[in-house]
């Protein structure tokens, strides 16, 4: 039997977006993946924070990415640490490296595939939930990408 991965609920805990992260979530609501980049030294950073950790400039732009990346590492959650996750296991949490924003990583769920299909270095692309429920954020998820 092929064991498929679940998608965790998007409103698990209260969220607290602020002025630094608003642009990311606003773009996500329009199914666009953007990440902050220093205008001075062009270094990407994540999560969005007030200044560049390399040159300390606060001058920031948000670059839109293709949404392609690869799995840097991952875990398969089989035990539900919270009661609200009991119907969700197994689910995959992965650290993703982004093809067009070197040096940063983003944490997300790999969805829509079998548990055994996940491996480090596997190519992925961003995928958005069909609907954003009450109290939830428009969370970028990740799907395995077959070589084109």
């Amino acid at each position: 039997m092929i064991e498929m991965l679940s998608t965790p609920p998007a409103n698990l805990v209260p969220f607290a977006p602020d002025a630094c992260t608003a642009e990311f979530w606003d773009a996500a609501a329009n199914r666009r993946l953007v990440v902050p980049r220093c205008v001075e030294c062009l270094t990407y950073r994540f999560p969005p924070t007030p200044v560049c950790p390399r040159c300390r400039s606060g001058d920031t732009t948000f670059d839109e990415l293709t949404g392609r990346g690869s799995i840097y590492t991952f875990t398969i959650a089989r035990h539900a640490p919270l009661p609200a996750l009991r119907g969700t296991v197994p689910y995959a949490i992965a650290v993703i490296e982004l093809d067009d924003a070197p040096g940063i990583r983003i944490v997300g769920n790999v969805v829509g595939c079998a548990v055994n299909d996940i491996e480090i270095d596997a190519p992925v692309e961003v995928s958005w939930d069909d609907e954003v429920g009450e109290g939830a954020l428009p969370i970028p998820r990740w799907r395995l990408r077959t070589a084109a």
């Binding site: 805990v13 640490p81 949490i93």
Partner: protein
């Protein structure tokens, strides 16, 4: 710097641990008949008795995070004059560092008898295992939502075990580390717990048991996780001079260090650490400082009490502290090096967080003191130098080198 190890051990310490105390250890939630304040006071009373000191002698508190109210404690205990009270910042790595903070208070002359302590009580609504998402006001580990955590919690990454599983997986990928290596940490630690009355997990563990355990967050199974327990531990530190007149042989603080690289930062709270240290414990810069301050090297350490919330992190610390090269933690333990019987560097002779009890690393300090007094249950022969780590986590991570007064 003096030339011989003997001279180095004698020359550096200005403070010493003189008392250790603890409550019994309970399975999680089973101490709820006692308040956390009662647990803390029991441990402090025992530590002061052990030292031959009284509550009136205490003039400082040096803690690690968790935000314990020292005003309430001083008021409750009728402490005559509090001259120092501070807590190391951080999210998991600071128990050893709390003793470093006591050392700093004593070296600077701000206080002379400093108490460090931690109490853990985990009723169902306050389990550390779901700490990242714990917003319950009843939990001492409650976290308020933040814009940075949104990027972690939104993926249902809510448990420290899930986060460290991803570090472990990366280490397996880069270095060929296997679950058998994790098992050796779990099994060798269990062997050390089996003859200890204080240990919560004393049944023998075989490799078959390990592989039969249910998977929690792949690649970590149940037996890679520390026990969930309740209890309190307290440690009393004073000046090297005063220590000589007290009940036990003083245990000099040879060096302490805490901190880490900004690029390690929140570590499992952001996963943006540089590629060359990602699959590590984040301890490398702190280990360097620690050994430099003491004029010692990993080869001088006789017993290592390494914070073991998850078994793979013991491998990563063995590498970062220099007991073996980067990436070689797996083969190093497979060769029997961390065993109490016959190992080149016995690790967690008390059964650690994995098998004895989880008091956020304070039990490791307790064991280091017993080893150096020569009174440990699993006594390493002629132990003169003990390493204690406070736990791979966000910075600061912290560590301590303790010695033996001759």
């Amino acid at each position: 710097m003096p030339d011989t190890r003997e001279e180095r051990l004698m020359s550096v310490a200005e403070s010493a641990i003189v008392g250790i105390g603890r409550t019994q250890y309970w399975k999680r939630g089973e101490s709820v008949g006692h308040t956390p304040l009662q647990l803390v006071i029991s441990a402090i009373r025992a530590a002061l008795d052990d030292a031959g000191l009284g509550f009136d002698d205490v003039d400082g508190f040096a803690l690690y995070a968790t935000g314990f109210d020292t005003a309430l404690l001083a008021q409750t205990l009728g402490i005559p004059n509090v001259r120092f009270t501070a807590a190391l910042t951080g999210g998991g790595g600071g128990s050893a560092g709390s003793i470093g903070l006591a050392d700093a208070a004593i070296r600077s002359g701000q206080a002379s008898v400093v108490v460090s302590f931690l109490a853990v009580q985990q009723p169902p609504e306050a389990r550390f295992g779901s700490a990242f998402a714990n917003t319950s006001k009843k939990s001492q580990y409650s976290y308020s939502p933040s814009s940075e955590k949104d990027f972690i919690l939104s993926s249902a990454l809510v448990s420290p075990g899930q986060a460290f599983a991803m570090l472990a997986r990366r280490h397996m990928h880069e270095f060929g580390t296997s679950r058998e290596h994790f098992a050796e940490v779990a099994i060798s630690t269990r062997v050390n717990a089996m003859n200890r009355e204080t240990a919560l997990m004393r049944e023998a563990m075989t490799l078959d048991d390990y592989f039969a355990a249910r998977m929690i967050s792949d690649p970590l199974c149940l037996l890679d996780f520390c026990v969930e327990s309740d209890g309190a531990v307290a440690v009393v530190t004073t000046t090297a001079e005063r220590a000589r007149d007290l009940r036990h042989r003083p245990i000099p603080i040879l060096a302490s260090a805490h901190g880490g690289a900004g690029s390690w930062g929140q570590a499992i709270g952001w996963f943006g650490m540089p590629d060359d240290v990602f699959a590590s414990s984040g301890y490398e810069p702190v280990a360097k400082d620690l050994f430099a301050r003491a004029g010692l090297a990993a080869s001088d350490v006789d017993v290592a009490l390494l914070y073991d919330h998850f078994s793979p992190l013991v491998l990563l610390q063995l590498e970062d502290f220099g007991f073996c090269p980067r990436g070689q933690g797996g083969p190093f333990v497979a060769d029997g090096n961390i065993r109490f019987e016959g190992g080149s560097i016995p690790v967690n002779t008390h059964g650690g967080n994995l098998s004895e009890a989880y008091v956020i690393g304070m039990t490791h300090i307790y064991e280091a003191v017993e080893q150096l007094r020569g009174t440990a249950v699993n006594q390493v022969r002629d132990a003169e130098v003990a390493l204690v780590s406070g736990g791979p986590a966000s910075i600061p991570v912290s560590a301590l080198l303790l010695g033996r007064d001759s």
